[in-house]
């Protein structure tokens, strides 16, 4: 496997609480990898750690062959783009202004604004279908439009790897599909490596080339959606008894939740 990122024995702690413990994970170049798991399983922490926003307690993350700990901030930002879980920007900022920020890691004292920067912005706005909104204020956009603009900003960064932390959380169903179709197109047509954190297991199974299940900070299973979408495994990880059938439209596994199988809501099942 051509590894875009490899995570080796990574442990991350917030004070006394361990958020991610001893995780090994390789992320394949040019694929869509989805991190899934119940609330608090450490999937978002792992994603942010991949972008070096958390200092590991132990272990290492490599970008190709290079440890990310040795890279400069802007250098790292030219390799990995990150869409935050709940990004925020001033309401009076214009769409174009936000997308321009994606070029920040490409600007240095010696490198003035270049045609490449303008091209990247145009391409990012075109690719996400927000070119016509360029002069609009962010405060005047709908939730779906706003999310597209944020994706355009990350796209303008022109990174090989794009990390998205629960990008469809606040969107309605139509915009969820719209947003994930866009991400999947970036992967297929532009060969970007995509790492997604998704809450919705069925969306995860539908869009992932590779699915990673996490629970209580550890990695439980990782493989193709067809391998991982097993009733017993889902019950173990998510604490729901369920049936898994084949989605008749996309031929992907589809999980139908039946009931919470854990004694208390939101906790892991007692085995």
């Amino acid at each position: 496997m051509d590894k875009a990122i490899s995570v080796q024995a990574l442990t991350i702690a917030y004070g006394a609480a361990t958020a991610v413990s001893a995780v090994d994970l390789d992320i394949a170049r040019g694929k869509v990898t989805v991190l899934a798991g119940p609330n608090g399983c450490g999937k978002s922490t792992l994603l942010r750690a991949i972008r070096r926003l958390h200092q590991p307690k132990s272990g290492e993350i490599r970008l190709g062959d290079l440890p990310i700990s040795g890279l400069k901030e802007k250098e790292l930002a030219r390799h990995i783009g990150l869409l935050a879980q709940s990004p925020s920007a001033p309401d009076d900022m214009s769409v174009e202004e936000l997308v321009r920020l994606g070029r920040y890691p490409h600007q240095t004292m010696l490198q003035p604004w270049s045609a490449a920067d303008s091209d990247a912005i145009q391409a990012a706005m075109f690719g996400t279908g927000v070119s016509h909104l360029a002069e609009r204020r962010l405060g005047s956009l709908s939730g779906g439009q706003l999310q597209r603009v944020w994706i355009a900003m990350v796209l303008a960064q022109e990174t090989d790897i794009i990390c998205l932390d629960e990008p469809v959380n606040h969107l309605d169903m139509a915009h969820q599909i719209d947003c994930l179709d866009l991400v999947s197109r970036l992967n297929r047509e532009h060969g970007r490596t995509v790492v997604l954190v998704l809450h919705d297991l069925n969306l995860a199974a539908r869009y992932a080339d590779r699915l990673v299940f996490m629970k209580e900070g550890g990695l439980v299973a990782d493989g193709a959606p067809a391998e991982l979408m097993q009733e017993a495994l889902i019950e173990n990880v998510f604490g729901i008894s369920c049936r898994v059938i084949e989605d008749p439209v996309h031929q992907r596994p589809l999980c139908i939740p039946i009931r919470n199988s854990s004694p208390r809501f939101g906790t892991a099942p007692q085995v």
Partner: protein
């Protein structure tokens, strides 16, 4: 070699052009007000006459009044007001909070205390300094840095939360003000005008030497401001997004706080703790200018200058010949303005 392309799209270029037109208008107002500031006094001097005197004409008497008495006062008001306003602009940007300002964050209090301790230690019986005045802004900077460092340490892990910074800033500022007051009462006795300066901020009894020190310090600090301005745009975003773009926010934040403290210290070193200009001027600048950063900084500086020249003019018109510190005017206007901002904000960027 990269291809040179227009830095801004037509739409953004339009916004930027409009911003600089407003800066030019504010600059004209500043100059007119400065001339009025010099012109007003026990005798009114016509602005055209002032320009002539500044160009080297005029009688000996006129030259003393304009060049020795009034011009330094207006000059220090412009520089100190401007420095505080730019300091406030940087702080509001980097904390993403329009309530942030050198006063609210305790920087003014710290700088003031630094100067008062310095004066107490290094003045002789006739209240004159035994060392060069160049050290006065240095003392202010030490005080300002210690105050902001204390605010940071107290905020601890949550130093990125603007609200915590503001709460501890208000507390640290209050402690510094109380200590200043105690020093004024029990320390070596200063002239009353001096006392009012360190308690409220004033620009009377300023000489060219002091103006020079501030001007040189400010010129150096402004180089830093321009360098920092290039990196300010990502700070408009949430912390994760800004860091995702490759801005080392924890380090950058400290850098900006240090620069803002230095600017405030330069202002406080000779003009004292003039309150609320660092809050009002940048806020007003953003209302008029909008989002362009460099134009916003320029407008903040000019509006800060206008506010302090204006405040000084008001106390001179209303209370002459009694010297009332200009800081009382900025406080009287600034306090309701601060309350208005608090009440208006609701939940933004909490």
């Amino acid at each position: 070699m990269s291809v040179v392309a227009p830095r801004l799209s037509p739409a953004l270029a339009r916004v930027n052009r409009r911003a600089w037109i407003f800066v030019a208008i504010i600059a004209v107002v500043t100059v007119v007000l400065a001339l009025c500031g010099i012109g007003f006094g026990s005798t009114w001097i016509d602005p055209r006459r002032i320009v002539e005197i500044l160009m080297g004409e005029g009688t000996r008497g006129e030259r003393v009044v304009v060049l020795q008495l009034r011009a330094p006062r207006v000059a220090i008001a412009a520089l100190a007001g401007g420095a505080m306003a730019v300091s406030g602009y940087l702080l509001q940007k980097v904390t993403r909070n329009e309530l942030a300002s050198p006063g609210v964050l305790g920087v003014i209090g710290g700088a003031g205390l630094g100067v008062v301790i310095f004066l107490a230690l290094l003045s002789d019986e006739s209240n004159s300094l035994v060392t060069s005045i160049v050290w006065q802004p240095v003392a202010a900077m030490i005080g300002a840095s210690l105050a902001i460092a204390a605010v940071f340490l107290l905020s601890g892990q949550q130093a990125s939360s603007a609200v915590r910074l503001l709460l501890f800033g208000i507390a640290v500022g209050a402690v510094c003000k109380a200590a200043t007051l105690i020093l004024m009462i029990v320390g070596p006795i200063y002239r009353t005008t001096q006392a009012s300066r360190w308690l409220a901020g004033a620009v009377n009894e300023i000489n060219w030497g002091e103006v020079q020190v501030v001007a040189i310090g400010l010129a150096i600090a402004m180089v830093g401001v321009v360098a920092v301005a290039r990196r300010l745009p990502p700070t408009d975003l949430d912390e994760v997004s800004a860091r995702g773009l490759g801005l080392n926010l924890p380090v950058f934040r400290i850098l900006v706080f240090a620069l803002a403290s230095a600017l405030t210290a330069l202002a406080v070193a000779f003009a004292g703790g003039v309150g609320f200009i660092g809050l009002m001027a940048p806020h007003l600048a953003r209302l008029i200018i909008g989002r362009p950063v460099l134009a916003g900084i320029a407008a903040s500086f000019l509006l800060g200058a206008i506010m302090l020249i204006g405040a000084d003019l008001i106390v001179r018109v209303l209370f002459a010949p009694t010297e009332v510190p200009a800081g009382t005017v900025t406080a009287v206007i600034g306090t309701p303005y601060f309350l208005y901002l608090v009440l208006r904000r609701g939940s933004t960027n909490g």
